[in-house]
Structure formats: structure tokens, C-alpha cells
């Protein structure tokens, strides 16, 4: 598990609207909360 204080690894992934979303597009603008979850159709 990554540790508090470390730099988050960058990524670019597609969302359900076919948009490419990168962590770095939020830099300086927003904090990001990543909700990792096992599978769709389970609670987030």
C-alpha cells in the first residue's frame, strides 16, 4: 500500500463517458479522492 507523503503515481484511464482522465489534469486545481473497488454492482 502506498504511504502518506509519497507522490501519487500518475495515470490516464477512460471513464464511463469515454473520456480520458489523467491525475495530472487536476494538479493545482483539485484534490482527488480515488475510490478503488472490487467490481461494479457492489457498493462503492
Amino acid at each position: 500500500m502506498i504511504n502518506v507523503g509519497e507522490a501519487a503515481p500518475g495515470f490516464t484511464l477512460q471513464d464511463q463517458f469515454s473520456r480520458k482522465i489523467s491525475l495530472d489534469q487536476f494538479e493545482g486545481r483539485r484534490h482527488v479522492m480515488l475510490l478503488f473497488y472490487p467490481l461494479d454492482f457492489t457498493p462503492t
Partner: protein, 199 residues
């Protein structure tokens, strides 16, 4: 979760869901929940690679852990926790953590430009028993767009005539904005998201 989005928004925090499901599975699931407007990201190529880079991919089970990471606007991890795959997150508690992270940064953040919004004359034509039509209509739901009329050309001849008149063919789905027609479901969905969401 969707109920608390305003609180995350006020704390300048973008919520992103991440799992190994495909974007199509995400869209259907989101619809079954009455619309998820925050991005659900597909971490499946290669499977679980992003979760793995955060140390949150469960190799043996082949799934992501149910875990939460808060990254501040400088790209630094400020919180990480796991409730195990079968556990339940405390979303209100996480909102409190995001508010704390935000207190340290708020004054230095730049804002996103406001999304342009939808044109008044936007109409979505769909067909019954058509997966692409279903996907396009689901995007309206997921984006909480209730101002775009949905016309089904399968059982509405007037709608079909209108579709042919404006787009030159009877193909649906078709999103019409003024005199411009978009036929590809993926284009339609990306266009809609781009008009109403600031990302």
C-alpha cells in the same frame, strides 16, 4: 455517495471511482444506481495496473481492494485506507478528511473553466432494442441531464421523419444540436459529458 458529492465539490475534491470493469459495465452499473455523475475509471489494460501502482491490487483474487486514496492538488498522497473488499466505506468520514486536506490548500487552487452547458435545441433520437441507443440514453441519466428530449423512432413516425429530415438518414442513436447530427454513441456520450461537466 452521489448525495455527498456537493460536500466533496465544496472541498475542491474530485471523486474518481476505479475498478477493473469495462467502461460499458460502468455505464450500466451507474444507470442501475440512478446515475453516477462522477467518473468511474476502467483499470483493465493491463488489468489492475493503476491499483497495483498504488499497492492496492489483490493479485490472487484478480480484483482491486476496496480502498481509498486522497491525493492533494500537489500530487501528494494525504490519506490511504482499506476496508477490505467486503467492507463498507464511511463516505461522511472521508468527506471530513477531504475538507481537512483542502483547508491547507484552498487559497492556492486555480479553478476549472465552467462547462459550456447544452444548447436549447438538443434532441436525442433513439431506437428500441438497440444497445447504442440504450448507452446514449443512459449517459443522459448518468449526467443528470433532464432537459434533452428523447424521441424513440421505433414507434413514433413523426420522430422518424424528423430524424431523416435533419440528419439525412434513419440511423439512431442520433444526437441533434441545431442542424448538426452525431451518430456514434461514443461521440454522443463524450459530447454530452463535455458540455455539462467541467473535466
Amino acid at each position: 455517495m452521489e448525495d455527498l458529492l456537493d460536500r466533496f465539490h465544496a472541498a475542491n475534491t474530485q471523486v474518481l471511482g476505479v475498478s477493473i470493469d469495462s467502461i460499458y459495465c460502468h455505464a450500466n452499473w451507474a444507470m442501475s444506481l440512478g446515475g453516477i455523475s462522477f467518473p468511474l475509471l476502467s483499470d483493465f489494460n493491463p488489468k489492475g495496473a493503476v491499483a497495483d501502482s498504488f499497492g492496492l491490487y489483490l493479485d490472487e483474487a484478480g480484483i482491486d481492494d476496496r480502498a481509498t486514496v486522497i491525493v492533494d492538488a500537489n500530487g501528494v498522497v494525504r490519506h490511504v485506507s482499506s476496508v477490505t473488499p467486503s467492507g463498507k466505506r464511511d463516505i461522511a468520514e472521508l468527506a471530513g478528511l477531504c475538507e481537512k486536506v483542502n483547508e491547507a490548500h484552498e487559497s492556492t487552487l486555480r479553478s476549472f473553466p465552467d462547462p459550456p452547458g447544452l444548447e436549447d435545441d438538443t434532441v436525442l433520437f433513439v431506437r428500441s432494442n438497440c444497445m447504442f441507443s440504450t448507452n446514449a440514453a443512459a449517459a443522459l441519466n448518468n449526467l443528470h441531464i433532464d432537459t434533452v428530449p428523447v424521441r424513440n423512432v421505433t414507434d413514433d413516425e413523426a420522430a422518424l421523419d424528423e430524424l431523416v429530415a435533419v440528419s439525412g438518414k434513419a440511423q439512431a442513436p442520433c444526437l441533434v444540436v441545431g442542424n448538426k447530427a452525431r451518430h456514434e454513441a461514443a461521440d454522443i456520450i463524450t459530447y454530452l459529458a463535455g458540455r455539462v461537466s467541467e473535466l
